[in-house]
């Protein structure tokens, strides 16, 4: 039933993907190391120009060496994402089912979505490439954690998961989570960058080369918002699809099972984020904090609810 050699290939690809992502992190570090020294005088003018000041574009006079390292990092990330997709494809064909039937597979798929979202953003808006290290470092950490603590060997699905709704509900939950993952990172970067810009505007010149090379606070805020705008309907759909599935699996469409409760909390938090962005006094840093809390809720919902509490969503496959 289970194709053991394919399953072993999948596990090997997982290690390769982690290796490639780690190399990408190293390359992103090299890009920073070889980057142009911060020129405080120019910087003051640029950032003091107003809140919508464009990123003091690192590209304009980027040394060729840094640029090369940046491209190497992007290339490694792309190859890593392909191998990462291979992990899921081989897992799926080894087991003859969708490769998201336990926490290991779910977590792996979420991280893949996050990497793909980052790649799409970085290709469409080149200045966003510079948040790469802050996406890839958590990606490597998550992958190592998933491999060490959530690993479950390839096996058949439990009876409760054998439903067409697995393809609908779990797939959209993965998409939503992966998108929120990148969004949360963009908001963290925004919080760091906006404090930096405020200091620069106040005449202090904190010469942090890393923060200097980040996209402008406005661009980060816009990225965080657009990803939530994209992810929120997907997450809403995932919750609704879950309710429809629960109605045919558990006898009721909503029962405040711990997973349902936390999915609801996450939904409310992201709804609050979208409202906060249009409410006077909540724009900027307060709303960015809400987005960070939202990501925290998503991670808590994955780890705590499956590993500590008992509920109906106990498909973790953990022993």
């Amino acid at each position: 039933m289970i194709n053991e050699s394919l399953a072993a290939t999948s596990d090997a690809l997982f290690s390769v993907a982690v290796g490639l992502y780690s190399l990408a992190v190293v390359a992103f570090c090299a890009e920073l190391a070889f980057g142009r020294k911060v020129a405080p005088a120019r910087e003051l003018v640029a950032a003091g120009g107003g809140p919508v000041a464009q990123a003091p574009s690192a590209d304009e006079a980027e040394p060729a060496r840094a640029r090369r390292w940046g491209l190497v990092a992007m290339g490694l990330t792309m190859v890593g994402a392909l191998v990462h997709a291979g992990v899921l494809v081989t897992r799926g064909s080894a087991t003859g089912r969708l490769p998201w039937g336990n926490m290991y597979e779910f977590g792996t798929a979420v991280v893949l979505v996050a990497v793909v979202v980052y790649l799409v953003l970085a290709v469409r808006t080149p200045s966003l490439r510079h948040i790469g290290i802050f996406v890839l470092a958590p990606v490597v950490l998550s992958m190592v954690g998933i491999g060490l603590f959530l690993y479950a060997s390839a096996g058949p699905l439990v009876a409760a998961l054998r439903s067409a709704w697995l393809a609908v509900h779990v797939t959209t939950a993965i998409l939503g989570f992966g998108i929120f993952f990148v969004s949360g990172i963009a908001s963290v970067m925004y919080l760091v960058r906006s404090r930096y810009e405020a200091k620069v505007a106040a005449g202090e010149a904190p010469l942090s080369r890393i923060v200097h090379r980040l996209p402008s606070a406005a661009a980060l805020d816009r990225t965080a918002h657009r990803t939530v705008v994209f992810g929120f309907p997907i997450w809403t759909f995932a919750v609704i699809a879950g309710a429809i599935w629960a109605e045919s699996a558990w006898g009721r469409f909503w029962g405040w099972d711990p997973k349902e409760t936390w999915a609801f909390i996450a939904w409310v938090v992201y709804a609050a984020y979208l409202h906060a962005r249009t409410t006077a006094g909540w724009r900027g840093r307060p709303s960015a904090w809400i987005n960070v809390v939202g990501l925290g809720v998503m991670v808590f919902n994955l780890l705590y609810v499956n590993m500590v509490s008992t509920g109906l969503h106990s498909y973790g496959g953990l022993k």
């Binding site: 054998r162 759909f237 699996a249 006898g251 909390i265 609050a272 509490s309």
Partner: protein
């Protein structure tokens, strides 16, 4: 003697003190305004999220009564305090209800005026052009040799092709044009919020008029949809037992299938169902595929084994093939526990009870029976036999899956034998009674649910999603144009400005629009110069 006390001069009245009624009205209005402010809605949203947290961290009565009792035993001091705060019934607690009701009142106060204003805007003409078009986020000035009216004609045509609603006015600052499209964005917003209200109403209706009942059914047995028959049931305040659909279900056969590695593959129950008094039909239900019939749903929520026993007494009387469901204590191996009570033993006042442990695939090590497989490959029971008074008529409710320990403690119920039996084996008690493990049946835990609100909730949820997509993905665009005489009186300057909501990157779209307008102006100008070509 009289003393005149000088009255203090009356303090001057405040200029115009409003009547108490007005003051109350003003206060209420102020409260209403702050309740319906976005800031309040945000705080209520957060409160709702925070209030839901204890519901997932503490055991809840609605999910597992036994976990709540377990918590009471573990924390005897803390639990009663938490209970007073409704922390074991968070989602039906008054404070949780208070938060979501306030949130929904706030939402009504926010969305109803918005809906009315939006409805007006749909039928009203686009607003007049602002005075300074060059202050709009997107703006551009175009020169043309056409006169003002012809130039605006060209702009209007371009906008109408793009499905804008256009109106032309003779403004204070020259002939002008206003155009608008993208009402669906605001419509989506209004639909989203109203659908949330509809969803809550559907949920509440389902809770009031819905019920559910659960029952263990052994193969061959039948039950009907009445509260008397269910082992457990819960129902909304407005459920009338007389209105319950007279559905009856017979469990013919239950099958559990497993993969090679022991993973549960499927649970299916072959059932007959029908309304009482009419012909019944056959179907198979299982995990993820309930029976839906006449507004009710029938689920299989669990399963287990009912060992069958034959008890033959010394005087020759016997009970043949009697069984009781044994509840699984571990679903991975289906090791189960249960009791069979015989209150009416012929020829004696003593009652008899079998209590024990059942293993579908038994393995005895050092006298202890354990189960090693969920399939009934080698069914075995480990039994204790009791004789005496069971306490069934004591008036206190008893657990049917175990015998009453207090009767054993009192000495009124006495253990008279014990045995490990494989299928077909017997044991003989000292008084000559023979107990045979004669067979095995399966039972299914079945649940009947009725929720008249759930179709409404589904419809509302779809509307929520549709509204959300409209609100987040569409944009509302307003375009204004005004013509002025060109410098030196030659030709016309057309100033175009645009205001877009719901999109960050509007410049490329605006450039495309104005490029097309410029091309149209040039085309018209050519046609005007050479009308025959």
């Amino acid at each position: 003697m009289t003393t005149t006390i000088e009255k203090p001069a009356p303090a001057p009245l405040p200029p115009s003190r409003p009547s108490p009624g007005r003051r109350v009205a003003a206060t209420l209005l102020r409260w209403w305004r702050s309740l319906t402010a976005m800031r309040t809605a945000l705080i209520l949203l957060f409160l709702l999220a925070v209030a839901a947290i204890p519901g997932s961290l503490l055991p809840q009565r609605s999910l597992s009564q036994s976990q709540v009792s377990g918590y009471f035993t573990e924390h005897p001091d803390l639990a009663p305090v938490l209970d007073k705060l409704f922390l074991f019934d968070v989602f039906s607690s008054p404070w949780f209800a208070a938060i979501y009701l306030l949130l929904f009142i706030s939402l009504i106060g926010c969305v109803v005026p918005r809906a009315i204003e939006h409805a007006r805007a749909v039928f009203a003409a686009p607003p007049p052009a602002p005075r300074h078009l060059h202050r709009l986020p997107d703006h551009r000035a175009l020169d043309t040799s056409l006169d003002g009216a012809a130039a605006l004609d060209a702009v209007e045509e371009e906008l109408r092709v793009r499905r804008f609603r256009v109106v032309r006015r003779d403004g204070k600052h020259g002939p002008e044009l206003s155009a608008e499209k993208g009402f669906l964005k605001e419509t989506g917003n209004v639909v989203f919020h109203l659908a949330l209200l509809a969803l809550l109403l559907g949920l509440a209706g389902g809770k009031l008029w819905g019920y559910e009942g659960s029952i263990l059914v052994t193969e061959g047995d039948r039950f009907c949809n009445t509260f008397q028959q269910y082992d457990n049931h819960s129902e909304g305040a407005l459920v009338d037992a007389a209105d319950m659909s007279p559905l009856c279900v017979t469990l013919d056969d239950f099958k559990a299938e497993y993969e090679e590695n022991g993973t549960a593959a499927s649970f299916t129950a072959d059932i007959q169902y029908g309304l009482a008094g009419s012909a019944s039909r056959n179907t198979t239900i299982g995990v993820n595929s309930p029976l839906r019939f006449d507004g009710d749903r029938v689920y299989v929520t669990g399963h287990g084994f009912s060992p069958v026993f034959t008890v033959t007494f010394a005087n020759g009387d016997s009970f043949t093939d009697i069984s009781a469901p044994f509840l699984p204590s571990d679903t991975a191996t289906m090791s189960s526990q249960g009791a069979l009570k015989l209150p009416d033993v012929p020829g004696t006042d003593d009652q008899l009870a079998l209590e024990g442990f059942f293993a579908p695939t038994g393995s005895v090590q050092q006298g202890v029976l354990t189960s090693i497989d969920p399939r009934p490959l080698d069914p075995q029971v480990a039994l204790f036999v009791y004789e005496g008074y069971l306490g069934l008529d004591s008036g206190l409710p008893q657990n049917v899956y175990s015998i009453d320990q207090t009767q054993i403690d009192r000495g009124t119920l006495e253990r008279v034998g014990q045995a490990n039996l494989s299928l077909g084996e017997s044991t003989t008690l000292d008084d000559g009674t023979v107990i045979t493990f004669s067979g095995l049946k399966q039972f299914a835990a079945m649940q009947v649910s009725h929720d008249p609100g759930q179709v409404w909730v589904l419809g509302a949820a779809i509307a929520v999603l549709a509204g959300l997509l409209g609100m987040l993905l569409l944009r509302r665009e307003r375009v204004f144009a005004r013509t002025n005489a060109g410098s030196g009186g030659a030709g016309t300057v057309v100033t175009v400005g645009a205001l877009t909501r719901g999109s960050a990157d509007t410049a490329p779209r605006f450039t495309a629009l104005t490029d097309d307008v410029a091309a149209a102006l040039a085309r018209r100008a050519r046609t005007e110069e050479n009308p025959r070509s």
